[in-house]
């Protein structure tokens, strides 16, 4: 019994060592991993901006966020320039799907009323799922963490300033 446990633990240890190395190696196979990582983070940032405008009921601002989302998507395409045709095609298909989902949120916001926040947030959640499908095409090391606070003082409003 102890022998089986030991073997299991050893196998887990080996996996724990190999998996991060494999992820790192696949990230290194990409031509511009840093640019890709940065542009994927931009998609998350703009997606969070959508959410903020909806919860603040600043619906008129949402189409502007959609414009920024398309710019962030173009930034991803630009970062992908040197990658394989196969990966580019897969990313493009899912990216188009994500952009279409965010466009739906934007279109709904144009005619939204005060009471439509929940409806818009539900549609936004669908758009986030479509965006995550893009991230799934990349190694874990490049995928942005949607729960990660933005750089700088994000999430610490007025910290140290009495605000």
């Amino acid at each position: 019994m102890n022998g089986i446990h030991r073997k299991g633990l050893a196998a887990l240890a080996v996996l724990g060592f190999i998996l991060p190395l494999a992820a790192q190696a696949s990230a290194q196979q990409l031509k511009a991993p840093d640019d890709i990582k940065m542009t994927l983070r931009l998609l998350v940032q703009v997606s969070n901006d959508f959410k903020r405008q909806i919860t603040n009921k600043n619906f008129a601002r949402v189409p502007h966020e959609f414009m920024e989302y398309t710019e962030a998507a173009d930034a991803v395409r630009s970062a992908m320039k040197g990658e394989s045709a196969d990966l580019k095609a897969k990313v493009e298909t899912r990216l188009k799907g994500a952009v279409a989902s965010y466009q739906k949120v934007s279109d709904m916001s144009a005619t939204a009323k005060e009471t439509d926040v929940d409806k818009l947030m539900a549609e936004h959640a669908k758009a986030v799922t479509a965006m995550n499908a893009v991230f799934d095409l990349f190694p874990a090391a490049l995928r942005p963490d949607p729960n990660l606070p933005p750089p700088g003082r994000g999430g610490r409003r007025g910290a140290g300033a009495g605000a």
């Binding site: 940032q45 920024e68 933005p150 750089p151 700088g152 300033a161 009495g162």
Partner: protein, 160 residues
Amino acid sequence: MRSYVLPPARLSRRAMLLGCLAAAPLTFAGCGRTRKDEPLVADLSIESDGDFLAFRPDELTCPSGALVTLTFHHRGKYLSARHNWVLVYPGQLEAVDKAVEHNEGIIAGDDRRVIAWTPMCDKGGMVMTRFTAPAGGDYPFFCSTPGHGECMQGVLHVTA
């Protein structure tokens, strides 16, 4: 054209010593006056963290009463989001941010909660503002573009 050549002065050691002693207080008084008359100045520089909603650096320092020249550089490359730099009194950030939310983030010139602000700036651009640093303390600053203030903020430390 006429030129004058002054004859070499012949002074005794005692006269020279007395002259130096008399001149010393005047020299120090002169130094003091120059320092008092010259206004304190501070040149501050700040930029956006590329296209991300963050200031770099997010903490600045200047002495109280200084004439501050602040330059903000929008380092974005991809997104058309505009940014600015707005300095407010402690405890006023959220209120000012909320007040301009439905006005494209434009700061009203007569808002007494605001100490200084730059105009809105497009990606790649640079804007500037000049103001006199307030009394010692920590003053929050932020970008007033709707939705940015929550993330894009920092603190100006004014030393007394």
